[in-house]
């Protein structure tokens, strides 16, 4: 289990992370969601000890992670920025990965590279944005560490390769469970894949619960403006969409037992909920 205890991090005047507390349990898929600049990358970099927090602790099974080789070897983070030498060939990067991570499955890596259509003889710098992402994903899927962190994994991937990535991820997870943390702003793609959702906004955690729990907490009502306005009085309203005399309102809370006539109630889907939660 990875535990984050009251992490703070500022860049100059910008509070990148504000008193973050989180737990990542074993063998679950987490979605770390937030808009661009919300603090997702900073958090992942702090977990993996690439960046230091101003205060707070990051623990793996109770032991601090930073500067702890044993803990660091249990983690793999695919960063948005490529940290592999530009001039290195993909196949050499795979060979080195095997050196660094004894559990790295080089045959599997080569197999999925073929599936993605990545030529392993190429140099890393010559790869397009999409294939640079694919290159990192291939290593992440083959590395076999207990914790795999994906920062914007599908950046620049076309629809087919995105689908292939999620398929491989689930296949891998089903065959040999691990903890995955997927940082993304594309909720529609991960909503069916993740167990647990963490929503981060302006450096603060605004939601940290299982997808099911979160979904059960919100609902949508729609109807004529007058009726809706009367109904939502005193309720925790997340957002309102108006269209002429009709209104759709996203509400956080349990559905009332008796809904007034003329108001239609539907469950909230994750994507709508997320957009409402992270709107400014």
């Amino acid at each position: 289990m990875i535990e984050i205890r009251s992490i703070n991090k500022s860049y100059g005047k910008l509070r990148a992370l504000d008193n973050i507390c989180l737990r990542f349990e074993e063998n679950k898929i987490y979605g770390l969601l937030g808009r661009n600049g919300a603090g997702k990358t900073t958090m992942l970099n702090i977990i993996t000890g690439r960046v230091f927090a101003d205060s707070g602790e990051v623990l793996m099974d109770g032991n601090p992670i930073p500067e702890n080789d044993q803990a660091l070897q249990q983690l793999y983070l695919t960063s948005e920025k490529t940290l592999y030498p530009e001039n290195m060939k993909v196949k050499d990067a795979l060979k080195w990965s095997k050196q660094f991570y004894p559990e790295f499955d080089i045959e599997y890596a080569q197999k999925i590279a073929t599936q993605f259509g990545l030529d392993t003889g190429k140099r890393i710098k010559s790869l397009s944005t999409g294939y640079t992402s694919i290159f990192k994903l291939i290593i992440a899927l083959s590395v076999n560490t207990p914790y795999i962190l994906f920062d914007e994994p599908v950046l620049g991937l076309d629809a087919n390769n995105r689908e292939l990535f999620y398929k491989l991820l689930i296949e891998k997870f089903s065959n040999q469970p691990f903890t995955a943390i997927i940082s993304t702003h594309l909720i529609e793609e991960v909503s069916s894949v993740i167990d647990h959702i963490v929503i981060i906004k302006d450096g603060c955690i605004i939601r940290d619960e299982s997808c099911e729990e979160l979904l059960s907490k919100g609902y949508t009502v729609s109807g004529t403006a007058a009726k809706i306005d009367a109904y939502i009085c005193g309720k925790d309203v997340l957002g309102i969409d108006s269209l002429g005399g009709l209104k759709t309102v996203y509400i956080l809370g349990n559905i009332d037992a008796d809904i007034p006539e003329g108001i239609e109630v539907t469950k909230l889907n994750l994507q709508k909920l997320y957009i409402q939660l992270t709107n400014l």
Binding site: R50, Y76, F100
Partner: protein
Amino acid sequence: MNLKAAYKYQLTDHTKSVIIYYCVIVVLFALLSIATVNYSTGGSMISGMDSITVVFLFIVGLCTFREPFVMLLQNGFSRKSIFKSRLLVACTVVLIMAAIDKVILLLGKALSMSSSNSSFLSLYEQVYPASTAHVSPFLFHLNIFVFDLLMYFTFLAIGYLITLIFYRLNKAGKIAVGAGVPIFFCLIFPIFDYAFFGSGISRAFANFFDSIMGISAGNPYAAMLSFIVISVIISALSWLLMRRAVIKL
């Protein structure tokens, strides 16, 4: 721990440049020898092969921090492990290069022996001519070897430290240090020193350098000791800087 992989990775990083370096050196010496044999009328002298290696290692030091550092962080190494393996790699490279230079020196000496009017000298022999006279050949060559070894390590470490300083600085700091240091030492300091102290500070520096290197005293052991002290200080500074180095976003 998995120190071996980090060591191997960084060593591999150096191997190519070292091989290229010696290829160039061999070609250069071959050309020089041909030129001397065919065209030179008077005596000739090839010397200071080890000073070229020093410059090379200084540049290698300048170029080898960032890439392996971020690569090894990506692959689950602590800064401590990266630093430790880096020290081991530096020792290895320096040892190998001092040994190769030794072989080249011996070969050069053997070749120059056949023609009476040319000679092949190491930096050590040039700086400490007096100390070469009264020692056994074995001790003489051992001294050169140890001297080269320590000198190489020092310059490699200095190059590495400079890059680390620049890595840690932000953009403004990089410009300030990058421009400020040369301006200070080439312009402000000499003028200041000349105007107010009659170049007394420069002279004091020169004397200090002379005495720690044992040049006037003809004592190479002073230099060896100084190299050790400088290396330790530089490496300690490097560690202090690396300890808190982060991946720049």
